[in-house]
């Protein structure tokens, strides 16, 4: 059965499930492979006809191999700006893919676990996104898709440089793996810089997931591998997976310490955040993320009960601008969005309270 973009806006991606290994701290894991078809130029030297042609080949291969079944293919060139933004908020396409010009698209598989961007910076960007710490499983899924597509597409490959990509930082395996982490206690207790330093030594990059500067909004961070050449895919996966249990342990230790030393302050912080989300009439998306971050930690520590992690994760995504506008069925000004966000949060949390 063919899924539509409207169905997608209403459903929940599997990666938001709030389950999976170490999900108190690790929100999601992602693997992404960059591939280019040997007989075409790279994106910057392609004519509009080349792009249309490549998309036709790629779609045919994707459909014939059934790698993104049951299958939704979104033509991003023809899609509305809100639909494109919705896919970014859903982590199914990159911001670059949203903002690019020309013929391009994305194939989305069941439960949004696999997506394949077509005509991104590379001809194909194969991505798998899963809940919790599951980098190895994410790699296995993109590997499977790649192996299937290889039966129908001849990918540019060099014996020394491996898979060839438009940007030389992606050659070799073409693999970028990343995890999204929630590290509020390490941030509050100012230990986060130590984590950054340790991670940097392992040749991994860290950045705030939402917001700018050193204060990541809501304390969500993304850790990913830097280089893609000279290591096997398994080594790249193991390198990032190996460091996660330690980071998680530090974060949970810092949370427990906060709870035992400053219980009242922590409870107050959690319930104030909940109160704002439950009753505010107008809320910005940054404020929402900061409040959800406080609630998320409170839920994990048992300070606040009755709000599943899955709901917290969903609210993080469903309160973003394109999701709100899709739900309302029209464009909203920033002020209207803040009001719609408040109303949506009140309704969702009231529904939980009545259960």
């Amino acid at each position: 059965m063919m899924m539509t973009l409207d169905d997608l806006a209403r459903q929940t991606g599997a990666w938001l499930g709030g389950s999976g290994p170490l999900s108190e701290v690790v929100i999601s894991s992602r693997a992404r492979l960059a591939r280019n078809v040997a007989s075409f130029n790279f994106a910057t030297r392609m004519t509009p006809e080349d792009k249309t042609d490549l998309e036709r080949h790629a779609r045919a291969a994707i459909e014939a191999e059934g790698v993104a079944a049951p299958g939704l293919y979104v033509d991003l060139f023809g899609a509305s700006p809100v639909d494109r933004k919705l896919l970014v908020e859903r982590h199914l396409i990159s911001r670059e893919h949203e903002e690019a010009t020309g013929q391009r698209g994305v194939a989305i598989g069941a439960d949004e676990r696999v997506s394949i961007m077509v005509n991104e910076e590379d001809h194909l960007r194969i991505q798998a996104l899963l809940a919790g710490l599951a980098v190895g499983e994410a790699w296995r899924r993109v590997d499977e898709v790649d192996t299937a597509l290889e039966r129908r597409l001849d990918f540019a490959f060099d014996p020394a440089y491996g898979y060839l990509t438009a940007c030389p930082t992606n050659i070799g395996t073409g693999l970028r793996v990343s995890v999204m982490l929630h590290l509020p206690a390490l941030a509050i207790t100012r230990q986060i810089e130590k984590v950054f330093q340790a991670v940097a030594r392992l040749n991994l990059a860290v950045r705030g997931f939402y917001g700018e500067g050193t204060e990541a909004t809501g304390h969500f961070y993304q850790v990913s591998n830097q280089s893609s050449l000279g290591k096997t895919e398994e080594e790249i996966v193991r390198n990032i997976e190996a460091v996660m249990p330690q980071i998680v342990e530090h974060e949970l230790g810092a949370r427990e310490a906060l709870l035992s030393k400053e219980r009242l302050r922590l409870e107050d912080r959690t319930w104030r955040a909940y109160g704002m989300l439950r009753h505010a009439r107008t809320v910005s998306s940054d404020e929402t993320l900061a409040l959800l971050s406080a609630v998320r930690m409170g839920v994990q520590l048992g300070v606040l009960t009755g709000v599943p992690l899955k709901t917290v994760n969903e609210l993080m995504v469903f309160t973003q601008p394109a999701h709100l506008q899709k739900k309302e069925g029209r464009d909203l000004s920033p002020a209207e969005r803040d009001a719609a966000r408040g109303a949506y949060l009140r309704a969702r949390l009231a529904e939980l309270e009545s259960n």
Binding site: Y161, T173, E212
Partner: protein, 166 residues
């Protein structure tokens, strides 16, 4: 809080700069001033944009004379590549050969692919590299007495050495 540089816009970029070993300077700037002063990349930078910035730094060579090399296949010149950090086609890697090799080595700390190859087993250098990596993994597994993993790796080595066996 307002931007400490212009005092007009709200401070959105908060930086902790480490000067010398332990001295820290905390700066609060608006997006515009942060960009102007070179503290911030444009908003919503993603990993790949960030990497592109890095690549440009890494791959640009302001003080060298840029040789006028042109890819015979896509027509991209080396100078054009230096501006964008992006290649025009797969043949550029060969066309720009030694011009890009040291920079690739600096970024990846490697020049030989050892991972997956198309068609499973592949051929030539990549296959040799793959075997080298597998053998290293095998001795690591044996050392850690992970015999089940070792057996799996051994099977994989055999299948590469003797394709068509299974």
């Amino acid at each position: 809080m307002d931007c400490e540089n212009c005092g007009k816009a709200p401070a959105k970029v908060h930086m902790t700069e480490i000067v010398n070993a332990n001295e820290k300077i905390v700066r609060h700037l608006c997006q515009e001033c942060a960009e102007k002063l070179g503290y911030a990349v444009k908003q919503h930078h993603s990993i790949s944009e960030l990497l592109a910035g890095l690549t440009q730094g890494l791959l640009s060579s302001r003080h060298e004379d840029v040789p006028d090399v042109k890819c015979p296949s896509c027509g991209l010149t080396f100078a054009q590549f230096q501006t964008t950090g992006r290649f025009g086609c797969a043949q550029d890697y060969e066309a720009f050969g030694e011009l890009i090799r040291p920079r690739i080595e600096r970024f990846h700390d490697a020049t030989q692919h050892v991972g997956k190859v198309p068609g499973g087993n592949g051929s030539g250098l990549a296959r040799a590299g793959r075997l080298r990596a597998l053998r290293a993994q095998l001795s690591d597994a044996v050392e850690h007495e992970a015999y089940e993993r070792a057996a799996g790796i051994r099977d994989e080595i055999r299948s590469i050495e003797e394709p068509g066996r299974d």
